[in-house]
Symmetry: none
Subunit: 198 residues, 4 copies
DNA sequence: TATGAATGAGCCTTCATTCAT
DNA sequence: CATGAATGAAGGCTCATTCAT
């Protein structure tokens, strides 16, 4: 198991390195696939011996969980902050979509891994936290869409279908968006929202 | 290697069983993941011994390829037929979305496997055929959207973004659609198109 | 996991081979130690590839459990048979010691492994069965000693101490007895009982 | 390698701590098994980091050797002292058994480790010293029994069997004796000798 | 066709040990 | 003295695949 050191200075260095490991792992898993990447492969890419990795990851599955947390936690936090403040539903949806698409684009690798391993996430006990985060986030999006519908601005009669459509569009963004491309994340987000809002 | 029999009667029975094997494999892979499912797991679920499976699959990877073909081939064929006939772009888009969503829903497991193994499909030589099918299908959708745009009916200025949005929505459908739910595939397809068309 | 075949003929061959594997494992473990013997070592000695062994053992620990069962089950059964029949306590003790020592000597390797791994046996849930067998056997010995004491023929006032002494002597036999030596098992058993009986 | 300090004051503190380490290691090994206990486990139990342990142990195997020495050296020394003085064989046997059983009981953990690792001790070059101690001690016991037999007081015709019986009884004591129980070590020793002496 | 024994490579993980700090 | 990061070599086990029956 990965046991972080207790002394604050070391703890800091440890935490930073652990973040790096998770980040790099996301990149490698996204490219080769989680199962197709051996711990040896990963260690090599990170520049450690296989055993050394285990100071930071606990297990391969815990590493995968950390990748998902690194994806979901800040997104959920920022979305909550945003929606806590009072504002018009359309404005909130635009702001939410903006940060969401930006997050997806910045965490492209995390997203790809998250999607690849959907069946894993939906199954075990140890994935409960990740599942819960995903559901909470979807709930936030749903709420904004509901308020938009109540304001008569949602172009789709079925709110659930609107939610699924938005989820599908945004998540899929990870699979085609290129940072050096013509479109900026904000353009993408605006486009998606334009489709939904009257 | 899987060597099908030559005598027609036997060949027929063999083909039918092979189709069943591929179908069942899609189901199991969708639930447990391709890599997390061993050949022995799969054989047990199908009701054969491990060795017996190999009469029908050739190899595990070929089985995966067959799953993808079973998904893409008929979809591509029907889409081509549809778009070969002359018709208005909106009508064609509606018809295309209808059969597409219906196909996704009917091949939910295939879709989930297809999405899980995206990184596999995008890489090797033996996946060229599957990749090609996917690209051809996306090209067909793109063409309809282009004609819709030329007719001034597309609600998004950026056609590529519209394509990505549609791909995202429809593909994502596999992840939430429930056959016994409130919505029928046709409702879903209509909703998606309504978002895009003016 | 080790899954035995269902068809009777194959099942028979499987069971026989499994018995052989357990037997050989006892021999190797006794000589090199359970932990110091790798599955590779063991497989080599048995004449299988490492993977092939797993058709018969399930896991290294289950193999250890089987060794213990192969030791305890027949001993317990014979002891029960013997003590079920009515007889004088001294005669029963002599008969019991006779078969017990003979069993220890014939299962010398099993005994050595059993003693080496005492700490393992006393701990986990999966060892409950083995622990229970050991306790039941000791209980049988205790009963005979009690009846001997009631008949006024036990040379030690403390019956528990007598039991421990006998257990110590007989079990230790595995560590020094040589089949080609001067003493036969029956001589050893007689000697032990002579010490205890007035 | 473990390099003790040279300055006497430090050396003293070092030696005391080393004794403690060996003592605690015996306890942990007895409970969990030598091989099943990692250096990290051990360090945690002792309250050091893994690296810190190595100041005191040299290597895991040297630690095991020290445990055996801590068991055998004082026993052998006291037994030699006792038997150096002239006395009747029965009195000597009683005295020897007394200190022996007391020693076994006080070094219960050491004994359990010693028995667990019998196959290790009997094999390597570095174990020659421990093996030699064991043999010398057994030789001392054998001599007393021989003199007892010459005095016509041994209840077993076969002296080797008597020796094995005594070794078995006393060594086995480590496995059942409870310090807070009804019996004191002296009672146990007397019981064993009573069995052997006419 | 089908079975299940068998292989051999590879995977995740552990662990004794070392060393810079 | 002590820490904890790091290594590198196994170790137990799984698994796709083959083949005699």
């Amino acid at each position: 198991m990965a046991v972080p050191p207790t002394r604050p200075v070391l703890r800091d260095r440890y935490d930073r390195k652990q973040q790096m490991v998770v980040l790099q792992a996301a990149r490698v898993f996204a490219a080769r696939g989680y199962d197709q990447t051996s711990i040896q492969d990963l260690a090599e890419e990170i520049g450690l011996a296989a055993g050394g990795l285990y100071h930071y990851i606990g297990s391969k599955e815990q590493l995968l969980i950390r990748i998902c947390d690194q994806l979901m936690d800040p997104l959920l936090e920022r979305a909550r902050e945003l929606l806590a403040a009072p504002a018009e539903p359309e404005a909130q949806l635009r702001a939410l979509a903006g940060l969401w698409v930006a997050h997806v684009v910045e965490h492209r690798d995390h997203m790809l891994v998250f999607q690849q391993e959907r069946h894993t996430i939906e199954r075990g006990e140890q994935w409960r936290g990740v599942r819960s985060s995903r559901k909470q986030f979807e709930r936030l999006v749903e709420d904004v869409l509901d308020r938009l519908a109540q304001a008569g601005r949602l172009r789709l009669a079925d709110r659930r279908l609107a939610l699924s459509a938005l989820l599908g569009m945004v998540n899929h963004t990870a699979q085609w968006f290129r940072p050096r491309g013509r479109l900026r994340p904000a353009d993408v987000a605006r486009g998606y929202v334009d489709l939904l809002v009257d």
